[in-house]
């Protein structure tokens, strides 16, 4: 048995690599300054092998984690060949058309050298609070080109042989609305990369560089084998499903996402042909994002008890037509790519629901409710408030969907209301679960959230990138759809319903903004719901009496 195949060593190195990613994770969280990182936890960290294959992830945001390898692939083949990465370099990019997702996400990578040889790469992705462009917070609903969305940085060196490129940094900072916060968060990314690199060098010191590298490959082979075994357990065949988004913000036309999963032995192909063409508005997904969504859905659906890494991707082929909503061509705008990404996840899961009926839940809320206010104070000072909300999980074959909890391929925290009110001119009037929002079913969908606040500032410009106002979370096996999302503004007692995508809606002091997020779809026939569970729903007000009658009689 070769050293690399020693199962004990494999486990120990694998464990240490995850620990390195966790150490980077802790560093980012503790040293960043923006609310997006400090409360929303919108960042991720990972370790890659010398060729850029993902070896280990810190358990944070699958959407980020599984897109970092495709990004590295782009960088090394089209921008900076890996052999040109020198010790002490840090490569950054946020360019959707160089492997990124959307402009607020800055990816940073650092090669790890041991005895003069590159043995690994550490990577970090952080969502920054603002990247300039047509809307504070980076979600410009009116964008029709990526140029409208903010500053775009192709893969370049932010640090060259240990020396920070101050001129590049100054150029970026000159283009963003919160330069001090941006700078801190970016430097936090840079220090985290070195924290991970230090642990990896220690590992290579202990086992020797060549053994370390060989063990890395064995880790990937192990995950690949586990993934193949899980796929082989799914009956061969071709399974298709669809899901939808409300529109691109410019036109109300519903956009269709079509997924066909073909299982053949221990391989699986996912083809998104038939999906809508790329949109004029910013709901497009790059191919890196699409792959990330598919990888997530397949790993979750199979429930393969293996470490998530590049080995899991190997038996999965992803195809998406160039110029479509799910493989957008330059210069399509992409800031709201998560709307589409979530629905790639739910459509892929839905395709497999027939063959994995005991594992696949009904659809979750299906959209990250990102919103921001560009605040202009009376003295001219500007501030950006960025926040996010989510909704209910779909009913599961074995239990109800969770109420108001991160689902799918993102994973974030909410921001304490007391923190928000301490920093921004907002007064919250309600934050709670939304009764009757979960789809009826034998196992009902989890509840969505209602969030309502009064704007107390001088002038505000509200931006929102919402969805699921019409394309509601699907039910499964006879369960009902989850509720629709909503957004409204009340001024002088007059309530105005807003569309899901909003840019620069003027807010004045006293305006009350209310958002409702969808509950999850129901699972199973509602008439088969356990009467005790229904009674508990009514007692707790999760479901109101009138609604319960309607949902049981309608089925």
């Amino acid at each position: 048995m070769s050293e690399a195949q020693d199962p004990i060593r494999l486990e120990i190195v694998s464990h240490a690599l995850v620990a390195a990613a966790e150490e980077m994770n802790v560093t980012i969280w503790r040293t960043s300054r923006s609310t997006t990182v400090r409360e929303l936890l919108d960042y991720s960290t990972a370790v890659f092998d010398r060729d850029g294959r993902n070896l280990a992830q810190a358990a944070r945001m699958p959407v980020h984690l599984n897109s970092m390898e495709p990004c590295l692939e782009e960088i090394k083949t089209r921008h900076i060949p890996l052999d040109d990465w020198a010790e002490g370099d840090v490569i950054i990019t946020n360019d959707p058309y160089s492997g990124g997702q959307h402009l607020p996400d800055f990816l940073c990578f650092k090669p790890v050298f041991h005895q003069g040889r590159r043995i690994a790469i550490t990577g970090v992705l952080t969502h920054h609070v603002d990247v300039g462009g047509g809307a504070a917070g980076g979600y410009n609903a009116r964008a029709t080109e990526v140029f409208h969305e903010g500053v775009r940085v192709p893969p370049v060196r932010l640090v060259t042989a240990g020396k920070l490129n101050q001129e590049l940094l100054a150029t970026i900072l000159c283009n963003v609305r919160e330069p001090e916060i941006f700078r801190s968060d970016l430097l936090s990314e840079v220090s985290a990369l070195e924290v991970g690199a230090r642990s990896i060098r220690a590992l290579a010191d202990k086992y020797g560089g060549p053994t370390f590298e060989a063990v890395g490959q064995a880790i990937l082979d192990g995950s690949e084998a586990g993934m193949r075994a899980a796929i082989a357990a799914i009956p061969d065949g071709s399974y298709a499903a669809e899901d939808w988004i409300d529109g691109d913000g410019l036109s109300p036309e519903t956009l269709r996402i079509v997924v066909r999963v073909t299982v053949a032995g221990d391989r699986l192909a996912v083809d998104l042909s038939g999906t809508a063409p790329q949109a004029a508005g910013p709901v497009n997904a790059t191919f890196a994002l699409t792959k990330s969504a598919v990888y997530y859905a397949i790993i979750a659906a199979t429930g393969a008890p293996v470490a998530a890494n590049s080995g899991c991707y190997r038996p999965i082929d992803v195809a998406a037509p160039v110029g479509s909503l799910v493989n957008a061509a330059f210069p399509a705008p992409v800031s709201m790519r998560m709307l589409t990404g979530h629905k790639i996840v739910t459509a892929t899961l839905r395709a497999l629901a027939g063959v994995l009926p005991e594992r696949i839940p009904a659809a979750y809320y299906g959209v990250t409710f990102n919103h921001a206010i560009g605040i202009i104070h009376a003295d001219g000072r500007r501030q950006v408030y960025f926040d996010s909300e989510l909704g209910g999980w779909g009913g599961h074959p074995e239990q109800d969907g969770a109420d108001g909890l991160s689902a799918g391929f993102h994973n974030q925290q909410n921001t304490p209301i007391e923190m928000i009110e301490s920093l921004y001119p907002l007064t919250f009037t309600r934050y709670g679960l939304l009764p009757d929002s979960g789809g009826a079913g034998r196992h009902r969908g989890g509840l969505g959230i209602v969030r309502e606040w009064r704007f107390d500032g001088h002038r505000g410009l509200l931006n929102a990138s919402f969805d699921a106002f019409r394309s509601r979370p699907y039910g499964l096996d006879g369960g009902a759809q989850g509720s629709a999302g909503r957004l409204s503004v009340t001024r002088d007692r007059v309530m105005t319903e807003l569309p899901p995508k909003v840019i620069g809606h003027e807010l004045a002091a006293g305006d009350v903004v209310r958002m409702e997020t969808p509950g999850g779809g129901g699972h199973g026939d509602p008439s088969r719901r356990d009467p005790t569970a229904l009674a508990a729903d009514l007692a707790g007000g999760y479901v109101t009496a009138g609604h319960a009658n309607i949902s049981t009689s309608n089925g």
């Binding site: 048995m1 199962p7 004990i8 494999l10 486990e11 120990i12 694998s14 464990h15 620990a19 966790e22 150490e23 560093t27 969280w29 503790r30 040293t31 960043s32 300054r33 609310t35 990182v37 400090r38 409360e39 358990a59 699958p62 801190s184 430097l187 220090s191 924290v195 192990g222 586990g226 899980a230 997530y296 979750a300 429930g303 293996v306 470490a307 899961l349 696949i360 989510l390 599961h396 074995e398 239990q399 969907g401 969770a402 108001g404 909890l405 909410n414 304490p416 007391e418 923190m419 301490s422 920093l423 919250f428 309600r430 934050y431 709670g432 679960l433 309502e452 007692a539 707790g540 007000g541």
Partner: protein
């Protein structure tokens, strides 16, 4: 207090451990008896009687009992809690249920169960509003509050938690609600968020308040039973309860603030480690307690235990100062298993005490860490627990063969070694993360190991981390009680108010500090602590503007002026640089919370040095597999190791409840006080 006897009692799930010190002689002794789960106070009193009888001490000399209890933690874990109501600001009744949104298992499609201690139909909103600056935005709707209080009275709910938005900045509405409830629903116990955890972040504060309210009847009931039993007993000690911050409190105060007892279980071990750190002049110590199911890690830095601002019990945040403890699921009973990719894992699932490891012969079928130790000869099947239990080595070997060796294509010995190697790596990683979070290097620390399973792995864990010294304390089984014996009365008070740390904040800061000081002294006065035994120490939670996490900076005892502001900011920059590899003096520093630790110093009995009463037992030998090869390894009885002799590994040290493995490359010696200290030999 000459002539008094002081007891420490640590009541665990299985055993009640007692430690006593006779202040007349300085003599320390230990005693152990089974816990009496139906009413733990029975075991406490029986234990005191038993210990005095065994050591020939008069019961009426017992003057102080320091009591560590898991009663609060267990009540939460086992849901032995009353039905309580929660009052929030109207519109925010679901804050407790929504929590913070994030989940742990990101690839799971089935949501993990969440702990919800007060269901929706017992959560009520009242119209009122305080702003972030403490200003009243909307007055309390008194009529509605009165109706609600009447409803509480008629519903018979015994406790009410009150957690209003920004109550940490202005408690007026919470206090008024209490008055109304006391008037309309007399006898109902009430906990206000502005009193138990007056800190910003509504979910964490609400969660803490709910736990506190629900525990009030639990802890008060227990202390009343205990005091009643003591009143009937022939001794009348002062009783103190140990809190999660490592300090003690009175039963009266524990009844008001029972959440402070949560997670106090392991704090005794950290206190003992602090004492041993001073005794052996090892100011930087990592204390590890390895039992059957878990591995608890705490850090002693510069001679002091590390106190953090929050913890978690069963998924519920507890925003109260507590001794920092990292717990992972790794102990002697942890099960070794293979995943879908045939990768070897150890824990977190444990075979526990029942059925226990396969070698116990009580029905366990899956191999554990203990089974691997038996197979490799590190545990002696004939002399486990001092010979009280025979271990089935053949059964352990066949379980390892079936579950690990065969699927991996290894022989049984290699499989058993693999299980231990993975375990050691897991323990070392957990320690590394504990230090890493603080920017500390394990090589600057010594390790102190206790708990039944710790001794077999401590030296190997130290080796992984580059640690050169490992301490095996005397009486590892009752170490926690020893720590409790020496604790003080400690009350933590705090006030949150977000402010920039500049001289402009001085008036507001002085007001916060003065308010806390008055409150702290009042509590200690109420406990009859004389002024010369009262210590007040402030700590400021500071961060760079906008950061999510604060660093706790001790405030030196000097006038609160501009110079002190500068000093605090500078200390913050320095600590930030140490922990996070950068400091940025251009970014404003914010104060989030001001804390006061009010300590009432209790007399510290002088503890006599323990002479090792050497029994002349010759070391024996037995075969063990170490470093990949079977060899004859000397086995010493701990009590027979003479002070000052340096023994060279490999060797095994055995005592009644534990075994200590000293591998090759390490030496071990016994200190005068009875601790064993292992040193890594310098490589030649």
């Amino acid at each position: 207090m000459t002539g008094a006897i002081r007891f420490a009692v640590d009541i665990g799930g299985t055993f009640t451990d007692l430690q006593l010190v006779d202040e007349a002689t300085g003599r320390v002794a230990a005693y152990k008896l089974p816990t009496t789960p139906e009413d733990p106070s029975i075991g406490l009193i029986d234990g005191i009687r038993g210990a005095c009888a065994r050591h020939g001490l008069a019961l009426d000399r017992v003057e102080v009992v320091m009591h560590g209890t898991t009663i609060a933690t267990n009540a939460v874990l086992q849901r032995r809690l009353p039905e309580g109501a929660l009052i929030t600001t109207a519109g925010f009744e679901d804050v407790l249920e929504i929590g913070r949104h994030a989940r742990r298992d990101v690839y799971g499609l089935k949501a993990e169960p969440r702990t919800l201690l007060i269901p929706r139909h017992r959560r009520f909103g009242v119209v009122e509003r305080i702003g972030a600056d403490g200003r009243m935005i909307a007055p309390l709707d008194e009529a509605a509050a009165t109706d609600l209080a009447r409803r509480i009275a008629t519903s018979g709910w015994p406790v009410v938690a009150v957690a209003l938005l920004h109550a940490y900045a202005n408690p007026i509405h919470e206090r008024r609600l209490r008055e109304i409830i006391e008037r309309e629903a007399p006898g109902v116990e009430i906990s206000l968020s502005s009193e138990i955890s007056p800190e910003i972040r509504e979910f964490e504060r609400t969660s803490t308040t709910v736990l506190n309210a629900l525990l009030m009847p639990v802890v008060r009931g227990y202390t009343r039973r205990l005091e009643a039993r003591l009143a009937e007993a022939e001794f009348k000690p002062l009783l103190y309860l140990v809190q999660s911050n490592g300090g003690a409190t009175t039963p009266a105060r524990a009844g008001l603030e029972p959440a402070r007892l949560l997670l106090s279980g392991p704090s005794g071990g950290a206190l003992a480690a602090e004492l041993i750190a001073a005794e052996l002049d090892l100011p930087n110590l990592i204390a590890v307690d390895m039992g059957g199911t878990s591995y608890d890690i705490s850090v002693i830095l510069a001679g002091r235990r590390n106190v953090v601002a929050a913890g978690e019990v069963d998924g519920c945040p507890v925003r109260l100062p507590m001794v920092e403890m990292r717990t992972i699921g790794a102990g002697g009973g942890s099960i070794a298993w293979l995943d879908g990719a045939k990768r070897l894992h150890v824990g977190p699932e444990s075979a526990g005490a029942v059925p226990g490891p396969v070698c116990y012969g009580r029905g366990g079928t899956r191999p554990t860490v203990t089974d691997a130790n038996v197979v490799l000869g590190r545990l002696d099947p004939a002399h486990f627990l001092g010979g009280a239990m025979r271990l089935d080595k053949a059964a352990a070997a066949s379980a390892l063969d079936a579950h690990v060796a065969q699927p991996l294509g290894l022989d049984i010995d290699r499989a058993a070694e693999g299980v231990l190697t993975v375990t050691v790596s897991k323990l070392a990683t957990a320690i590394k993360l504990s230090l890493f979070e603080k920017g500390l290097d394990p090589a600057d620390f010594a390790l102190i190991s206790f708990g039944g399973a710790g001794g077999l792995h401590a030296v190997e864990v130290a080796g992984e981390l580059g640690i050169k010294t490992v301490v095996f304390p005397l009486n590892p089984g009752t170490l926690s009680a020893y720590g409790i014996l020496m604790s003080d009365l400690v009350h933590d008070l705090s006030r949150s108010r977000l402010m920039r740390l500049t001289p402009d904040c001085l008036p507001a800061l002085r007001a916060l500090a003065d308010g806390l000081a008055v409150e702290g002294r009042a509590i200690l006065d109420g406990e009859a602590v004389p002024a010369d035994r009262q210590d007040l120490a402030f700590t400021a939670d500071l961060r760079y503007q906008g950061q999510a996490f604060e660093l706790l900076i001790p405030v030196p005892a000097q006038p609160l002026d501009a110079a002190l502001i500068d000093l605090l900011a500078e200390r913050f920059h320095v600590l930030h640089e140490q922990r996070f590899s950068y400091a940025d003096r251009t970014v404003p520093v914010e104060l989030v919370t001001l804390r006061l630790t009010a300590t009432g110093r209790l007399g510290k009995p002088p503890v006599a040095a323990m002479a090792a009463d050497g029994i002349a037992a010759e070391p024996t030998e037995r075969p063990m597999r170490l470093g990949g090869a079977w060899q004859q390894v000397p086995v010493h009885q701990r009590a027979a190791i003479p002070t000052g002799d340096v023994l060279r590994g490999p060797l095994m040290v055995e005592e009644e409840y534990t075994s200590i493995l000293i591998t090759g490359g390490w030496t071990v010696e016994s200190t005068g006080a009875g601790h064993l200290v292992a040193h890594r030999e310098i490589a030649r």
